[in-house]
């Protein structure tokens, strides 16, 4: 766990680069979705529900000293895949690094075609939300 957020993002970027067509990149997200640790049912409450998606998304953030924690889930596998990536990038990372992170993740992963305009707005919202904690 010595990689920075940026370095981890680069790893993902490389993996996505290897996948040539949008379908494979999408399918890869589905694969990744199973790696996201499931959220406690108690946390899947209205309080942590994130609005603005066709599917349900739950997000829970915490900050302990200077470290950022997150828990997340969705009933969409694709979104779970995305959440897994976010979780990998940000969970238990120094808070400073998370909040100062500027790069456009969607662009970086080359998955903007994975998401429609409205979905992108949702993702951007999540990212802004993360940074605003």
């Amino acid at each position: 766990m010595t990689l920075t957020v940026k370095e981890k993002l680069d790893c993902f970027r490389q993996e996505f680069c290897l996948l040539e067509d949008p379908f494979s990149r999408h399918a890869y997200l589905i694969e990744l979705s199973s790696l996201l640790p499931p959220m406690k049912d108690a946390h899947k409450s209205k309080e942590y529900r994130f609005k603005g998606c066709q599917a349900n998304v739950w997000l829970l953030f915490d900050k302990d000293e200077s470290v950022f924690y997150m828990e997340a889930d969705s009933d969409s596998l694709l979104i779970r895949g995305i959440l897994y990536i976010l979780h990998e990038l940000f969970h238990e990372q120094p808070f400073d690094e998370v909040s100062s992170f500027e790069e456009d993740i969607v662009d970086a992963l080359g998955i903007s075609d994975l998401f429609t305009r409205e979905r992108l707005l949702g993702l951007t919202g999540i990212l802004q939300f993360i940074k605003s904690v």
């Binding site: 379908f23 999408h26 694969e31």
Partner: protein
């Protein structure tokens, strides 16, 4: 018609319940209008205006014949089904009070649900939602029970945009009329699939959208029986609807002008006329059987796939099939299908009450039209299988 490649593949368009594709002839007709006769209709004495008035009224006549309306006074051009329904909901307001009830069904599209709910709120009338059976069909006995002397109007879809279930509207209307209840039929999903004969149905109002019937966007139709249209006050005020203003009192033209204030969607109406002319010229019986065959094929192929549940199993249905999957969210399936260049729709399809009834948040909806083929369905089914392999392989 469609001529787009998505991610390198020709598109398989199976979202016809949202919008149908437009035949080339319709586009050509509209183009010709804009090139050659574009000008404002009515009251102009110059050639162009005369020409576009003629074309506009010809379109009305085509629609009239298509629906078998008694007169062109009964055919009002609107901006779409939603607009048509809202016009009736506003026009009927003076006839509705807190002693009344308005009935819709659990399978209505928001466009045939919210306007009536809002009307009830404004007038104090009671808003009643007639239930749907586990098969996704209208519960006719229950509806019959709900219809009483207090019922001011029944609003019901000709066929459901989620399951494709065809309602027995003729029987419903007969029953409603026996109790003196006017009936509005939302035909948004029906005109491109079924035969529509408003005199045979004897409905009081019938609504549909151009863009779901091979026509352009921004145009729709409200059919209303003359007895209603004559007594209704206009709901939209503006140019072209008054004969004169005398001592400050406007004297309205008769329907349809009374309900078409402002410059109408002239090109849209002409385009819709061309679309319906095109559609009406096709051999209807063979289209209906082709669509039925495809629909049954979709249903039987989907049923073979483990984990998939069909939503609704109506006895009579048009070319719409909705399903869910054990693990994969409708959003996942539709998104992945899109990456295979297959256009279907996921979500609640503006039918929240129906979703609530079935305790689901949404479905994947496959909806066909006359131009779809068995090959396209095979491609769809293979696509779904491919996606579910990924999902199951997690």
């Amino acid at each position: 018609m469609l001529n787009t490649r998505v991610y390198g593949s020709p598109i398989v368009y199976l979202d016809n319940a949202a919008t149908t594709q437009m035949p080339y002839a319709v586009l050509k007709t509209m183009e010709h209008y804009y090139h050659h006769t574009h000008s404002n209709i009515h009251r102009g004495v110059h050639y162009l205006s005369e020409q576009s008035t003629c074309d506009y009224e010809k379109a009305r006549n085509i629609v009239k014949d298509f629906m078998n309306a008694e007169s062109e006074h009964e055919v009002i051009f609107t901006s779409g089904t939603t607009d048509s329904i809202n016009i009736v909901a506003l026009a009927i307001e003076p006839y509705v009070n807190e002693k009344h009830e308005i009935i819709v069904t659990e399978m209505e599209h928001h466009s045939n649900y919210l306007p009536w709910q809002a009307l009830c709120k404004r007038t104090g009338a009671k808003f009643i939602v007639a239930p749907v059976s586990v098969r996704g069909e209208l519960d006719f006995e229950e509806l019959e029970r709900l219809m009483t002397q207090r019922t001011a109007l029944l609003a019901i879809c000709h066929s459901s945009n989620v399951t494709g279930a065809v309602n027995p509207v003729k029987k419903v209307i007969e029953c409603a009329h026996q109790k003196g209840i006017p009936v509005l039929v939302d035909g948004a999903q029906s005109v491109s699939h079924q035969r529509v004969d408003v005199q045979n149905l004897d409905c009081d109002f019938y609504c549909f959208s151009g863009h779901k019937a091979f026509g352009p966007t921004g145009i729709g139709v409200l059919y209303g029986k003359q007895q209603w249209l004559n007594q209704f006050m206009p709901v939209k005020y503006g140019g072209g609807m008054v004969r004169q203003i005398k001592n400050g009192e406007p004297a309205y033209w008769e329907s349809p002008a009374k309900f078409e204030a402002g410059t109408p969607n002239i090109a849209g109406a002409i385009g819709l006329g061309a679309a319906i002319e095109w559609f009406a010229s096709l051999p209807r019986e063979s289209i209906i059987s082709h669509e039925l065959e495809l629909t049954q094929y979709i249903r039987s192929e989907l049923l073979k796939i483990p984990g998939i549940t069909l939503v609704g199993s109506p006895e009579e249905q048009i070319g719409i099939v909705s399903f869910t999957h054990r693990y994969a969210h409708p959003f996942d399936i539709a998104s992945l299908l899109d990456k295979l260049a297959i256009a279907v729709r996921s979500g609640a399809h503006c039918a929240q009450p129906f979703m609530d009834r079935f305790g689901i948040s949404g479905t994947v909806r496959v909806s066909i039209s006359l131009y779809n083929t068995k090959e396209e369905i095979d491609y769809l089914i293979n696509g779904i299988k491919r996606i579910l392999k990924v999902v199951d392989g997690r």
